[in-house]
């Protein structure tokens, strides 16, 4: 390919894309924040601490999330449940719970580590702050209220999309707890306040049922 031909072909590429964009077909960006893109189901956004349907907190203060966190940005202190007014169904509950969002790398290991599905990601990522102290999310901000409504630090902010914060357990529903595809579609999670038991998703594999059984048989 000579230089002139290469030049013409290059110009043709940009010319084609120009036509495609001005006729409205080629555009790939959106005028954010006027138009916000639909995010993937398992988006790793801001965390929330969930509650059971009866309003009990799911977190049992076990600190497994803090131990799993590679960025060491979770700080948990557990405390014994008061016998007369228990906060969580377990023996203990998360007394102090803080995540430093400046250090968090949104890897999701805390979500995987949690035995009670207490901490989950949401789809909200707009959480810039004007000082460092604000970037440390405390339990007040992370915990959903009794109706399962998430908190937002800046309620009046135009980016405070509570609907995105409410999409809290995409990861949980799309993958089986053990990570095996054969568990896909089986409900293996507890219900949450406000939303109840969320239905399972046909996740990554989308295997038909026979295949699932066959693979289980092979495993056994």
């Amino acid at each position: 390919m000579g230089p002139v031909e290469a030049f013409l072909r290059g110009m043709a590429v940009t010319g084609r894309q120009f036509i495609a964009t001005i006729t409205g077909r080629g555009l790939v960006t959106t005028p954010y924040p006027k138009v916000m893109r639909e995010k993937p189901q398992r988006f790793h956004g801001r965390h929330v601490l969930n509650r059971y349907e009866d309003g009990m907190e799911k977190c049992i203060g076990c600190e497994l999330c803090a131990g799993a966190c590679p960025a060491r940005c979770i700080y948990v202190r557990g405390a014994d449940n008061p016998a007369d007014d228990p906060v969580s169904p377990g023996e203990r509950y998360g007394f102090v719970y803080e995540i430093n969002m400046l250090r968090c790398i949104f890897c999701g290991l805390c979500v995987e580590a949690c035995p009670t599905e207490a901490i989950t990601h949401t789809q909200l990522f707009e959480m810039s702050t004007t000082n460092r102290a604000d970037a440390i999310f405390t339990k007040d901000e992370l915990l959903v209220d009794g109706d399962g409504q998430p908190n937002h630090m800046f309620e009046t902010d135009r980016f405070a999309d509570l609907a995105e914060l409410a999409k809290a357990d995409g990861w949980m529903r799309a993958t089986a707890p053990q990570g095996r595809a054969s568990y896909e579609g089986l409900v293996a999670w507890s219900g949450s306040a406000g939303v109840g038991v969320r239905p399972p998703e046909r996740g990554q594999s989308g295997l038909p049922d026979e295949d699932e059984e066959a693979s289980e048989g092979a495993d056994g």
């Binding site: 290059g10 010319g15 894309q17 495609a20 964009t21 790939v28 959106t30």
Partner: protein, 361 residues
């Protein structure tokens, strides 16, 4: 020459000064928008309708920025360089006719007012001279900044400008030979009417581009190189020498360089239109349309033709990667200059034959 003439000249200068700034504002927006379209993006869309005021906002921002002066600069030249870039840019456009001369009765006298800054009899030479002066701005900015990246940018500018100015000058000689004038208004006038080819009247306008296509091509390539635009933007080369000659400039001084660059693009496009595409000539339907419309139409034609070139500039920028330095030099010295010399020879021969007949005939 009375006070009315003086006033008219002053008026034209002020109008062109304003026009060029408006053009710059629109051109920067146009470029960003078109490049965005070519990259499937939206581009500026917040300030004003379709983001058209984006450049105004950016300009205002530059106004209020601190003009940082590094410690090692050679202050006088450092200060003069941006002005040396902007002033020739404005001056260069002064000779480009961008409308048909209008005849108005003023002060009891019929006056023919050219729609251009000044109708110099050496217009083309003047343009070349001004474009050479503009190179000094880049070189001096690079040298006086007292830092290595600007210096590299300045050195590159020297070599590039010399190589491509030669090609550009040579590509213009056939135009001068063909039209027999250095005066831009006469060059435009010579391109009116229809093309005659060996006595045959073709249904094409008599634009120089149909006769002097190789000159046109060489001129356009050299013009892109002269204005330091992609793919010849080695002088700026953000990725290699972090902006080159303007690395150490900020605020309004930086804005002046920017202004100059875009005015130069506009002027070069205007020149290409004037020299090869018939300038402001085009159908005006005199008599059938109101007088004002007929007077304004040539300017509209001119601007439309210029827009085609501006689009080409942007298209090239969105498409081509920057040339390597040796490729730049090869293209300049081994391709463009020999090509223009051969072409010049050919055109010269053809002109001689037309004038004196074949030597054996």
């Amino acid at each position: 020459m009375d006070w009315i003439d003086v006033g008219l000249v002053a008026l034209r200068v002020v109008v062109i000064f304003g026009l060029l700034q408006v053009v710059t504002i629109l051109l920067i927006w146009f470029e960003r928008k078109v490049v965005a379209d070519m990259q499937n993006r939206i581009g500026p869309d917040r300030a004003g309708p379709w983001g058209i005021l984006q450049t105004v906002a950016d300009g205002l921002k530059l106004f209020f920025k601190e003009q940082v002066t590094p410690r090692k600069v050679e202050f006088g030249l450092y200060l003069a360089a941006p002005m040396l870039a902007a002033v020739p840019a404005f001056l260069m456009f002064m000779v480009v006719p961008f409308g048909r001369p209008v005849r108005i009765n003023l002060g009891g006298e019929d006056r023919l007012i050219p729609i251009q800054g000044a109708d110099l009899n050496v217009g083309l030479l003047y343009v070349l001279a001004m474009s050479s002066v503009a190179v000094y701005a880049v070189v001096l900015a690079g040298w006086s900044s007292g830092s290595k990246y600007p210096l590299l940018g300045g050195v590159r500018a020297t070599a590039q400008a010399i190589s491509y100015e030669a090609a550009m000058g040579l590509s213009l000689v056939p135009v001068v030979l063909f039209t027999g004038s250095l005066r831009l208004s006469e060059i435009v006038a010579s391109q009116s009417g229809s093309l005659t080819f060996f006595g045959q009247v073709l249904s094409l306008p008599a634009w120089n581009v149909f006769v002097l296509a190789p000159s046109f091509l060489i001129f356009f390539i050299a013009a892109v190189a002269e204005t330091n635009r992609a793919p010849f933007d080695l002088v700026e080369a953000e990725q290699e020498i972090v902006g080159g000659f303007h690395t150490e400039y900020s605020g309004l001084r930086f804005a002046l360089f920017f202004l100059a660059e875009y005015i130069n693009i506009f002027t070069m496009s205007g020149l290409a239109v004037t020299l090869f595409l018939g300038g402001w000539s085009g159908p005006t339907w005199d008599g059938t349309l109101p007088l004002v419309v007929s007077a304004v139409l040539p300017t509209v034609w001119f601007l439309l033709k210029v827009t085609v070139f501006l689009f080409m500039y942007v298209w090239l920028r969105a498409t081509l990667p920057r040339l390597r330095y040796d490729q730049l030099m090869t293209l300049g010295w081994k391709r463009l200059i020999p090509a223009s010399l051969v072409w010049l020879f050919f055109i010269g021969g053809a002109m001689a034959v037309r004038q004196f007949g074949l030597p054996w005939g």
